[in-house]
Each structure stands twice: as C-alpha cells, then as structure tokens.
C-alpha cells in the first residue's frame, strides 16, 4: 500500500507514558477508505496507538501525518473536523443529558458567535438515530446502562461528522445483538465512504467486518493485511499464545477462531473426556 495515499500515517513513532515505553519506532499507514481493525492482547498498546493517531498522545519520537501534514502542527479544531475518536473509558460530566453530550461532538463546527446551527441539529439527530439512543435524549448519561452509555459516546463521535473515525472498543459493554448492530453501523459508515480504524477484541467479528487487520503484540505490528491472510492458527498462537483451530465462518466464510479444548484436571469437561 502506498503511504502517500494514506489519510493517516504513524511514521516511526515511539509512544511512551512517563517512563514506560509502549512502542518503539512503529509504522502504520491507514489505507484510504478501509475499515481497519487492530487486534492484540490486553496492554499491547492498541489504545496507545489509537491515541497517537488521534493526537491525544504526542509521540516521543516520530510523527503522525494527517493527509500528509504533521497532525500536531494543524489547528486542533481543523483536525477535529477530519477525524473523531471514541476513547476507551471517557468521563461524562455531572448531570449531563444524552442530547447535550452528543451535541458536544459539534464543538469543532461551532464558534463563539455561532453556537448552534441547523446543520448541528441535523447531525445530532442523525447520530442519535443511528445509534438508537433517540428516545434517551432527555435522560441523564449517569443514569444509563453501560451499553446505552457506550452508544451515546459513539453518537457523540458520529455527530462530529468526520471522514475518519477512530473507535476504541466500540462494542464493549454491549449485548450480542447491540454488538452486531454497532458493527453493522460501522460497516454502513464504511460503505458510505468513511475510513474507520477500530480496536476490537472479538477476532471473529474483526475478521467479519474488517477490510484490513492489524495484529499487535508488545507494541509491535506483528502482521497486517486482509483478514483471511492474517487470522491463521500460527498467528493466533504467536499473538495471543492460544492454541486454536481456524475454520471458515459458516455465515460469511471469513476466518473463525475456535480455541482448542484444554483439559483442566477435575473439571466437568475433563470427566466427560475420560
């Protein structure tokens, strides 16, 4: 893939918190128009990479390029019109309603003298409907369930109306039906021409929806490419240390990971095997 075409590039970035270096000299070019999904074990640096791409964490070395220009040199509001981020574990301010929170996604489109417009109203409306939190509009965010809250935050990112969407675990806290709904929503946004970068833990979902998979371990990109090429038995072993079988998903034909049975002495399974 050509780096020059990529809307978002991490160019030799070293990412660190205080003394902890999470990733060293890491390169990643997000393919234009792709639905890129990052997978990897807990703590391997997925969120950290996403933060760097969204300029909420400044790389210690290297740089991040948005449309070919260094992202830290651009006006923050201009960046926010190009890319939105759903962070992992955001904080809802006290006593804020769903409608108000989602409306904050419109901040980059507003000014001191233009605090609200018909376009803002339309974007908020559409975002609330897309994530099916329309009827929660007047409720306080603090009173919602984890899954409802997650969809509200997603709505806020959608209200930003950006071409690039970075989503850190958009399906956490969601029941299986809502997980599928959110993933379908992502697929639709992708089909409409947006570029998505998401961190997911469910490998089967990742393989189903992604056009590009990026597998990370210990702050390094271990493999990337089409899901069928990336999700293999040796890779799952290498990245997650898990013995598995990879079979075609009966519904879509994409790779599906089935962990091998491990015999646990004294367990029910163990007895059945005996």
């Amino acid at each position: 893939m050509n780096v020059a075409d990529s809307p978002l590039v991490a160019d030799g970035v070293t990412l660190a918190y205080d003394r902890l270096v999470v990733a060293r000299d890491l390169d990643l070019a997000v393919a234009p128009g792709s639905f890129t999904v990052i997978i990897g074990p807990n703590g391997c640096g997925k969120s950290t990479l996403l933060r760097a791409l969204a300029r909420t964490l400044a790389p210690r070395e290297g740089r991040v390029l948005l449309d070919g220009a260094p992202i830290d040199r651009m006006r923050s509001k201009d960046v926010a019109k190009r890319l939105a981020l759903l962070p992992q574990g955001p904080i809802a301010p006290e006593a804020i309603t769903v409608g108000d929170l989602v409306a904050r996604g419109r901040y980059p489109h507003q000014g001191i003298l233009r605090q609200w417009s018909a376009a803002d109203a339309r974007a908020v409306d559409a975002a609330l409907r897309a994530t099916e939190v329309d009827d929660l509009r007047e409720r306080f965010v603090s009173d919602l369930s984890g899954g409802q809250r997650q969809r509200v935050w997603l709505a806020m990112a959608l209200a930003q109306e950006t071409d690039l969407l970075l989503l850190d675990e958009p399906t956490t806290f969601l029941d299986i039906a809502h997980q599928v709904e959110v993933m379908d929503l992502c697929a639709r946004l992708h089909a409409e021409g947006r570029t998505l970068v998401a961190v997911l833990h469910d490998l089967n979902q990742a393989a189903r929806y992604a056009t590009h998979l990026v597998a990370m371990r210990d702050g390094r990109v271990v493999a990337q490419g089409a899901p069928a090429d990336v999700v293999t038995e040796p890779l799952v072993q290498e990245v997650f240390g898990l013995a598995s079988r990879v079979v075609p998903d009966p519904e879509t034909g994409t790779p599906m990971v089935v962990p091998l049975r491990r015999t646990v002495p004294g367990s029910v399974q163990d007895q059945v095997v005996l």
Binding site: R75, L85, P87, P90, I96, A118
Partner: protein, 364 residues
C-alpha cells in the same frame, strides 16, 4: 443584520430544543449570530438578581439611619437631607456594590476552578487560595509592614499559593485529585504562617489584621467599587469566552482533545482568570470564606446545567454576599459581624455536606 427571536422549528428543536431562545439572523437562522440560551439559567439569574435587589433595598432602609422606601426616590433625585445623602452614597451604596461585585467575582472564580478540577472541593477556598491571600496579608501587615499595602500583599499571597499548588501537583492542573490534596496542604501551611505572624504581632496590629482576615464589607469606599467593577469588566468576558471549552474539558483530556479543544492552554487561561478574580475580590473585602465554594454549586443545582454556568454563578454569588452582609449587620442586636463569619458559617455547613457525600461515594 436583523435580529429576531425565532420560532423553534422542528429541525432545530434537537438539543437546545424548546428550552432556548435563539437570537439568529438570516432566513433560516444559519447565518450570523446564534447564541444558545437556556431558559432555566435565565430564570435563575433573574431570580438571583431580584433577591439581590430586594436585600439591597432592605439594607438601605434598615437601621436607625435607614432611608424609608417612600423617601428613597427623593434622595436619589437629590432632595433628601444631607445625612440621608451621606448614608446612601458614602456608606450603604458602596458597601452594597462592593458586596455584589466581590460575590460575583468569587463565584465565577469558584465555578472556573471547580470546572478545571472536576470537583466541587477544587474551589479556591479549599485549595489554599484564600489562605494564601491571608498569609500574604499577614506578611504585608505584620511581618514586613510598610513594604506593600495589605491588599497587594493578599494578591501576591494568592499567586504564590496557586504557584505552589501548580508546582506541588507536578502535572500542572491536569490531575484534579492531586491538585485538591496539594491545595489543602498549601492552605494548611499558609494558615500556619498566619498564626505565627499573629502570635508575634502586637495586640493592636493583630486585631486589625484579624478583622481583615475574616473578610469584611464595613466602610467600603468608591475606590473599592471602581476596583472590583474594573476587574469584572475585564475578566468576566474572558471567563465567558472560556465557558464552552471548559465545558468540553470536563469530559476528560482525551475526549476534549478529540473534539478540538486544547486542554492545557484552556486550563492555564482559566486558572489565571480565576486567580485574578479571587485576588480582586480579596483586595476589596478580604478573604470572604466559602462564597467561591457554595455559589457556583447552588447555581449548578438550580440551573441543572452540566457546565460551569458563569452568568448564573455570578448572579448567585452577588445575591449570596449581599444577603450574607445584611445578616452580618443585623444578626446580633448590639454588634456588626464581619460578613466572612456569616459566609464561613453557611459554607462550613455546605462543606460538611459535600465531604459526607464524597465519603459515601468513595465508600460504595
């Protein structure tokens, strides 16, 4: 540019919805000035101002020298007695105006600090700003008398305190919890310094400073009025400009950066404006306790808003201090209290309430 109160169309009814008055221009309101006003904060402001004006009228009419309401228009028109003139223009009006102005300044300062720290306990009273001002006053009045006037010492003390909190918390103002803890420590040290200064001072000096330290609106002059009004004229617009970014910063650095707010500059500016507001208030009436803590919280509760509503906080703070001063003047039959004692009593109760709630929350 034509301005009109537009009917809220179905489309525009999303967020601000029926609760807003939009001042818009252009055929579809998509051009020019569009300010979002919510009805509730507006009502709260009006009510707070009515309370403040009512308390002011009571203050003017009360007491032996009070001007009856029926004679007030005549006095204002210049027809009253010389004593009435003196009562109105030399004693009561400046006192009222300084009270209202300082109340507003303290409340806005508190609203900004509480927003930056995401914690009601992050108010200037709790994080040592008031204590720092007191220490500065004690240094200027007792330890090194004559170097700078006492109010200037107070302002310097406030800045030293906030600087100590800044450096002590290690990460500027981006770690709210740490800031509160460091602030309490800085406040304790400042108060220890005040005690030391008072213990070493002569009795008369100590009395004068002790009175000032309580925070008092007695014997205010038009010079004080000018100072606080000038501070508000300059600083309130800056506070208003910072309201929207501050609101967004309350969502945490990551989410705020993602929607295009530069978090550190926003916080730094907010703290600077807030310290100047507190310093201005302290220099006209001493470190009146707990207005900065309580007024913005009362305003938030009443407006049910999710951000640091500066205007509502300012109106509430003004009303609070004017009412507190009225109580301070007439609560005891023989004696006037410094207003700071009244607000400390009120605010102390509220602080206990907050702390209990905080403990409950962390115990869950």
């Amino acid at each position: 540019m034509s301005t009109a109160v537009e009917p809220v169309t179905a489309e525009a009814a999303v967020l601000p919805g029926p609760r807003t008055v939009r001042v818009a221009s252009g055929p579809d309101g998509s051009r020019g000035l569009v300010l979002v006003w919510r009805r509730r904060p507006l009502v709260v402001c009006v009510v707070a101002l009515v309370v403040a004006v009512a308390a002011a009228l009571v203050t003017i009419t009360a007491g032996e020298l009070g001007i009856p309401l029926s004679e007030l228009p005549a006095v204002v028109a210049g027809q009253g007695t010389r004593i009435q003139h003196w009562v109105l223009y030399t004693t009561r009006l400046p006192r009222l105006l300084v009270g209202a102005g300082a109340g507003a300044a303290l409340a806005v300062s508190g609203a900004m600090f509480q927003s930056v720290t995401r914690n009601p306990l992050g108010s200037p009273d709790v994080i040592g700003l008031g204590a720092g001002a007191a220490a500065g006053a004690a240094a200027a009045g007792l330890v090194w008398p004559g170097v700078v006037p006492v109010p200037v010492g107070a302002v310097l003390g406030a800045f030293v305190a906030v600087g100590a909190v800044w450096f002590g918390s290690g990460s500027g103002f981006s770690r709210p919890q740490r800031l509160v803890v460091v602030g309490i420590a800085v406040g304790a040290m400042a108060l220890a310094f005040v005690q030391l200064a008072l213990a070493r001072a002569s009795r008369e000096d100590a009395l004068v400073i002790a009175q000032w330290l309580n925070g008092s609106l007695a014997a205010r002059t038009w010079a004080d009025v000018r100072l606080i009004v000038a501070a508000l004229v300059v600083l309130l617009p800056l506070a208003l400009l910072l309201t929207r970014p501050l609101q967004v910063v309350e969502m945490g650095d990551e989410a705020a950066t993602a929607v295009g707010v530069r978090t550190d500059p926003t916080r730094t500016r907010a703290v600077l404006v807030a310290v100047l507001l507190t310093a201005a208030a302290v220099s006209v009436c001493g470190p009146v306790a707990f207005v900065a803590l309580t007024a913005p919280q009362i305003a938030r509760r009443l407006t049910r808003s999710s951000g640091p509503g500066m205007v509502a906080a300012a109106c509430t703070g003004a009303a609070l201090l004017v009412v507190a001063d009225l109580v301070a003047q007439y609560a005891l039959p023989e004696q006037q209290l410094p207003v700071g004692i009244v607000t400390a009593g009120l605010g102390g109760v509220y602080l206990v309430f907050l702390l209990v709630r905080e403990f409950r929350r962390s115990a869950v």
